[in-house]
């Protein structure tokens, strides 16, 4: 489902200060937002986007209280508690490497004008549980096109904000901080890959879900969805991700959901959908094979796990 206008207006701009400075603009925005809000709910009832699943959505409470975000603690309930005061504005994203104009962007400038959509995706965690999450975000491909990487750029690397004063677990060596993830360029350009800025039809994203901006790649295990992105780097060689560094025998670069290739310590054949009692079979590429399998044609997925 596509929302045509104005969702790129950051909530920080809709403040009394701005009202004071530019009242007319505020009124326009407010009307605009109201129109969008009503049309979203209307559309939500009627139209399902081509990438959306119509499976039962995981309750908002579960999506926002059961999180893996190690920077805020290793327990599932820790991020919701410890990320409460995480500052997500002002926020900058440093665009670096093989790109036309390396630059540090205030996040609102970076995403201004990009089409924000609702995307209802399955999310399969490498630990063996899964959710159905209605994200709100834009296609990563649109941003990449705007940034104009050079032809040498073969991979995109992402980094989470490194700020131990705000992300307390970065003081401890659980992983080699900052968290790093990466995609091959064709993966990054795949229409399924989005950068999410909202959840359940509204923005901003809750802090514990990776505010202000996070990656969502539904055909890969959840840990590929790097949160609170502060750096995007275009590179020629394959990035070494945080989990590859921590356990190279257990986590590969691709990390595509694959029931046929077990994690060395546990099975990946089944998963428990949050809210369900019985386990269900895990699907290749988490059920997105039609959209993504061709990218890996001819590759040995047992080696490229």
């Amino acid at each position: 489902m596509v929302i045509k206008t104005a969702s790129n207006i950051p909530s920080s701009e809709v403040t009394p200060e701005n009202t004071y400075l530019n009242r007319r603009r505020f009124i326009e925005l407010a009307t605009g937002l109201a129109v969008i809000a009503s049309s979203t709910s209307l559309l939500a009832q009627t139209k399902k986007g081509q990438y959306d699943t119509d499976e039962k959505q995981t309750p908002y409470k579960d999506v926002t209280t059961y999180n893996n975000f190690y920077e805020f603690g290793v327990d599932k309930d820790a991020p919701a508690i410890n990320a409460k005061n995480f500052r997500t504005r002002p926020w900058t994203v440093s665009v670096e490497g093989l790109v036309k104009k390396p630059q540090i962007y205030p996040i609102d400038d970076l995403i201004k004008g990009l089409t924000i959509e609702d995307r209802i995706y399955r999310m399969r965690c490498v630990e063996g549980w899964s959710m159905v999450i209605p994200w709100q975000g834009f296609q990563l491909s649109a941003l990449i096109k705007r940034l104009e990487p050079t032809p040498q750029a073969k991979y995109v690397e992402f980094q989470t904000l490194y700020a131990p004063d705000q992300l307390p677990e970065e003081k401890h060596q659980v992983l080699d901080w900052p968290y790093v993830e990466g995609l091959r360029m064709d993966e990054a350009m795949n229409p399924l890959a989005i950068l999410a800025v909202g959840l359940y039809g509204k923005q901003p994203l809750p802090n514990q879900n990776g505010a202000p901006i996070r990656l969502v790649t539904p055909w890969k295990y959840g840990f590929k969805g790097i949160k609170s992105i502060a750096r995007i780097r275009f590179v020629e060689s394959q990035p070494v991700t945080a989990w590859m560094k921590a356990a190279p025998a257990e986590y590969g670069f691709y990390s595509n959901v694959n029931p046929a290739v077990d994690h060395p310590r546990w099975s990946q054949a089944t998963e428990r959908r949050i809210g369900e009692f019985f386990k269900r079979k895990t699907l290749p590429f988490n059920g997105y094979a039609d959209q993504v399998a061709s990218m890996y044609a001819g590759m040995d997925l047992r080696k490229n796990f």
């Binding site: 995981t58 309750p59 409470k61 579960d62 209280t65 059961y66 190690y70 290793v74 599932k76 309930d77 490498v126 630990e127 549980w129 401890h172 659980v174 992983l175 989990w243 921590a246 356990a247 310590r265 546990w266 099975s267 428990r272 949050i274 809210g275 009692f277 019985f278 386990k279």
Partner: protein
């Protein structure tokens, strides 16, 4: 005095039940996380290990402090370790795998962390069975004691089980490993008092 002793024992018994009571209350009031089966698995698992460690503290505590009373609680604490271990095992068999015995056997065979956990649990079974006074008499104190050293194996298997199942957050399993090393190290040290004296004499001579 006997009355007081008895009420202390009842109190300890109830305190040992607290984790499972808390779990039941949390489940009944919808205060578990989005993945309740995992919560139950983790809670019963960690309490198994805690009770094993607590049980292994009894003897060193008695010997180091001379507080002989404490031995009265060892059997109960050990049985609680088995109780939580049994709940943990049943959570896995019933709630997690739903009696899919083929998958369970495959898990025990293929997944080292489950092999370790299963070993730890199985090692506790004969200890629970022979925990009665009758069995002590039947086996004879020395044999019984020897058999009950399986508790060391069980705790060790428990720590390894924990260490092998976490992703990167090894801090907690390592802490339990350190506690266990201390407790087993103490026993090793206590086993060779002569050598220790020899060392001391040499130190004095030097």
């Amino acid at each position: 005095m006997i009355k007081l002793r008895r009420s202390i024992k009842v109190f300890v018994f109830l305190a040992c039940l607290a984790p499972v009571v808390w779990l039941l209350i949390a489940a009944a009031t919808d205060n578990l996380s989005a993945n309740p089966i995992k919560d139950i698995t983790e809670s019963t698992g960690i309490w198994t290990l805690r009770f094993l460690i607590i049980t292994l503290c009894v003897t060193p505590l008695r010997k180091l402090t001379g507080w002989n009373e404490v031995i009265r609680y060892r059997r109960m604490l050990g049985l609680f370790a088995f109780f939580y271990g049994f709940l943990h095992f049943m959570t896995y068999v019933w709630l997690d795998q739903f009696f899919a015995f083929h998958d369970i056997l495959l898990d025990v065979y293929k997944r080292p962390f489950i092999t370790a956990g299963f070993t730890g649990f199985v090692a506790m079974v004969p200890l629970a069975i022979t925990s009665t006074k009758k069995w002590i008499v039947r086996l004879g104190g020395r044999q019984w004691q020897r058999l009950h050293r399986l508790a060391y194996l069980s705790a060790l298997a428990g720590v390894i089980h924990y260490l092998w199942l976490v992703k990167a957050d090894i801090q907690r399993p390592v802490l339990y490993g350190m506690a266990l090393s201390l407790l087993l190290g103490y026993r090793l040290f206590a086993m060779f008092p002569l050598r220790r004296d020899g060392l001391k004499q040499r130190e004095i001579a030097a």
